[in-house]
Amino acid sequence: MTIWENGWTRVEKFIVGLLALSATLLSFYGVITRYIFRNPPDWAEEICIYMIIWAVFITASILAAEKGHVAATLIVERFSMKTRRYLAVFNGAVALAFCAAVAALGFKIVAAAYINDERSMSALRFPVWIPYLSVATGCTLVALRYAIRVYRLVFSFQPSEIMETHELSRDGGHQ
């Protein structure tokens, strides 16, 4: 990974960490206010959901960068490195195409919600394009990650890029 990509991941991790922590504290605050001040904020749950959904879709990008998305690799691991490289390019391209398509469709929904000024059903009347944007943003980020991965697999191939984590950590490497 280049310095540039490392920085990208670090920013994402910071945002995700902040969102997850805030959501936790917000839920906690909701419980405390309900029992101590007898005045539960009706917006706490809703905002907490938005935060976690945003965190989930940004996390998808971190996972794509770190090969953290779980896959069934036992069959693939038995192939030669050359075949595995082709497969990795294919898989990367499929994931890229899927995410790009979902991102494009997602932005359409965001645009529609923004133009029509759609609001959530709760008392908060939160503009829904903000949470909707999470799907499109997350999928764009994941698509970018896979674009980089495919480019790298094609032009500057390193075997470690397609090895699974458990293969790398294993005594004696690949077997």
Binding site: K13, F14, V16, G17, L18, A20, L21, A23, T24, L25, S27, F28, V31, Y35, E45, C48, I49, I52, I53, A55, V56, F57, T59, A60, I62, L63, G68, H69, V70, A71, A72, T73, L74, I75, V76, L87, A88, F90, N91, V94, A95, F98, A101, V102, L105, G106, K108, I109, P131, Y132, S134, V135, C139, E164, T165, H166, S169, R170, D171, Q175
Partner: protein
């Protein structure tokens, strides 16, 4: 015909090693693009709506609680205490592993997180004391799965949401089977360790036991906060999870003082990574479940079950076999999300108790976590032990059989699971 075609697309992509979340997403996309009148814009909408529910938020909170407990030293204090209690038994450290996993399971709802949290400490210890590597790796892979049977449980949260059942009731139903499973594992360890002549360590003194137990008290408070909160009706499951996470952060910052303030955000991000992986799968898997329902598959299955005059038990047997096979091929969350929309209508038609089936499902998911080729615990623990997958598989095999016996007990003896919730929360 369509279903069959899509099944092959699905299986093909899966075998080629495409991450499961994308296998599900791409299959759903093809389905909607070519075989459904619904507009493609449905895909991002369904992905968003899948996550837009407060009960699901319990998953990141439980994972966060677990993350802070591991980094904050809580799991180590727990293991130290368990070590003093049972280390002198046959297969001492293996017993410690099972007991630690059972306790950790009561404050963490994830099997992989539990296996990892306890594994990183007990695996090196077992290897150092001359335990055979497959034996050590097998014990922790299997014992980790108990975490989703003993409440809280992420698998039961997902089931509860899908089946529209009470999550606290499901948690309660898992309690007895979870403890019994730990006991079954320990009985096997005793037998196996005696045969392999793996003795225990010298018995701990009373002073040592008291001291380590005292140090682990904050750790023991966690299940009390989480489960106490839920069953007193004080908080919902998600709020209990958030309380647990806040308590875990507090304990690791101020009581054990093993986490620095600057680490709080990075650790939250790390926890979100594990939770995000599950939740990203949820949002792609749910699209498939929706479409299968639309395609009328569940109704067809109900009709088949009625035509064959299947009894409830015969149907459960068939489901168990199917889940066992799926469990070898797929990851846990995706199995639940794909199969439940198809199975649930049949369960209702055959008058099978949904709480009872929730536990059957959970146990099947436990087995799925340790059956190759796709068993997450196997991969995680092979990584921890720096061992080939084959060794872990070898070690875990006896436990798979023990768990299958437990599965038969649970499936054919509903009172085993329903006794406790009916006793405490009233019969329904």
């Amino acid at each position: 015909m369509t279903v069959l075609f899509l099944f092959f697309v699905f299986l093909g992509l899966l075998c080629l090693g495409l991450p499961i979340a994308f296998v599900l997403g791409v299959t759903a996309f093809i389905m909607i693009a070519f075989f459904s009148p619904a507009p493609l814009q449905m895909v991002p909408e369904v992905m968003y709506n899948a996550l837009d529910t407060f009960p699901l938020m319990a998953i990141p909170f439980f994972v966060m609680a677990a993350q802070f407990m591991v980094q904050g030293g809580t799991s180590r204090y727990l293991i130290n205490a368990a070590n003093c209690w049972v280390r002198h038994w046959w297969g001492g450290l293996a017993m410690v592993t099972v007991v630690s996993c059972m306790i950790f399971g009561a404050l963490c709802g994830s099997s992989v997180a539990t296996a990892l949290a306890i594994g990183v400490i007990v695996v090196p210890a077992m290897l150092e004391h001359g335990y055979p590597r497959p034996f050590a790796l097998g014990v922790i892979s299997a014992a980790g799965t108990i975490a989703i049977m003993i409440p809280p449980s992420i698998a039961m949260i997902i089931y509860g949401i899908m089946a529209d059942e009470s999550i606290p009731r499901l948690f309660m139903a898992g309690f007895l089977p979870g403890i019994m499973q730990g006991i079954f594992y320990m009985l096997w360890i005793r037998f196996d360790a005696k045969r392999k002549n793996i003795g225990g360590a010298p018995k701990a003194t009373w002073g040592e036991t008291l001291q380590t137990t005292y140090k682990a008290i904050p750790a023991f408070c966690m299940p009390v906060i989480i489960l106490g909160g839920i069953y007193s009706g004080f908080v919902t499951v998600t709020e209990a999870a958030a309380l647990g996470a806040v308590a875990a952060i507090f304990i690791s910052l101020f009581i054990y003082k093993e986490v620095a303030f600057t680490k709080v955000i990075p650790l939250s991000a790390e926890a979100m990574k594990s939770a995000g992986m599950i939740m990203f799968i949820i949002c792609t898997a749910i699209t498939i479940g929706n479409w299968l329902t639309e395609a009328g598959l569940p109704a067809q299955l109900v009709q088949i079950a009625k035509d064959l005059k299947l009894s409830a038990f015969a149907f459960l047997l068939a489901v168990n076999v199917a889940l066992l096979i799926l469990g070898c091929l797929l990851e846990v969350v995706s199995i639940m999300l794909i199969t439940l929309p198809i199975i649930l209508p049949v369960l209702k038609a055959l008058d099978i108790n949904l709480i009872h089936f929730g536990i059957v499902m959970t146990l099947n998911m436990e087995i799925a976590l340790i059956t190759p080729p796709v068993g997450l615990n196997l991969y995680v623990i092979s990584g921890v032990g720096k061992a080939p997958l084959a060794e872990t598989i070898q070690g875990v095999t006896p436990y798979i059989f023990i768990t299958i016996i437990q599965l038969m007990l649970i499936t054919y003896w509903p009172a085993y699971t329903l006794f406790l919730p009916n006793l405490i929360m009233g019969a329904r």
